[in-house]
Symmetry: C2
Subunit: 155 residues, 2 copies
């Protein structure tokens, strides 16, 4: 339980944490590299994982594909040490700044999950918008690290 959301002014300008969880009990989380400022991943937390993250200073998420709490790095070893947590104006999203050392955050093997950019400007054919790879080198080989774990990506 957190402080009840009973007043918009309190939620926006007040001093108490009153996060809003969505209809599935989740709040979206932006995770950035505390050293470079790069965006590493976008995830979700439920109430338990948010509290666990605050108390342990290690990022814990809710895995929507595996339907369970997930201590980031529990399989890969790439833990995230939390340096700062921020909450937004209406308290329905969270931003973590984390230290991942020389590690990676992306299950595909890149440092950041956001390794591809979308070209800007007039769209000629929306079924063939070509992405540009901004990270070219993987930090690890996911086959070696995750072995027989199912891929969390869903179509």
């Amino acid at each position: 339980m957190f402080k009840k959301r009973d007043n918009i002014r309190e939620v926006e300008e007040g001093k108490y944490l009153s996060p809003k969880f969505d209809e599935n009990g989740l709040i979206p989380v932006i995770t950035r590299d505390s050293k470079t400022g790069d965006i590493l991943m976008h995830g979700y937390m439920n109430e338990v994982s948010l509290k666990k993250t605050i108390e342990t200073k290690e990022a814990h998420y809710w895995s929507r594909s595996r339907k369970k709490m997930w201590r980031k790095g529990e399989i890969s070893g790439f833990f995230q040490k939390v340096k700062e947590i921020r909450i937004d104006d209406d308290q329905d999203s969270v931003c973590l700044s984390v230290d991942i050392g020389d590690g990676a955050s992306c299950h595909v093997g890149y440092r950041s999950c956001f390794y591809r950019s979308v070209p800007l400007g007039k769209i000629k054919n929306d079924t063939e918008i070509e992405l540009e790879f901004k990270e070219k080198k993987k930090i690890f080989d996911p086959k070696k690290v995750y072995k027989d774990e199912p891929n969390p990506t869903k179509l």
Copy 2:
């Protein structure tokens, strides 16, 4: 329409944009300041607003509270010029880098929506977790800028 998501390897390692919209037709969006790297806001786009953003290079979101597409800045004048769009590994979230000049992104008046931090460590009383204000000065007075517009924050 975008390229069909029919193959996990293509979604993760392929070169085509195949975003995944949730059951409400939305994809979450992280917006960061292209100059400072600071996180400015967390929002949502539908297919139309994502395409509009790509083509116009101005951020367009889906407002869940007003239930309509929303060109950021249409009321406040604080437009967001899009410098880069990235998509994540499983293509279910987007990150924009935007130029907001000397403006603001937060309807409460701060430059960033993430103006408060959550203290780390043992939680003594979960209904009274005290936030710390990291931005102390508002960039604008929301009463003057938004006048009679309804507040988008929902309890």
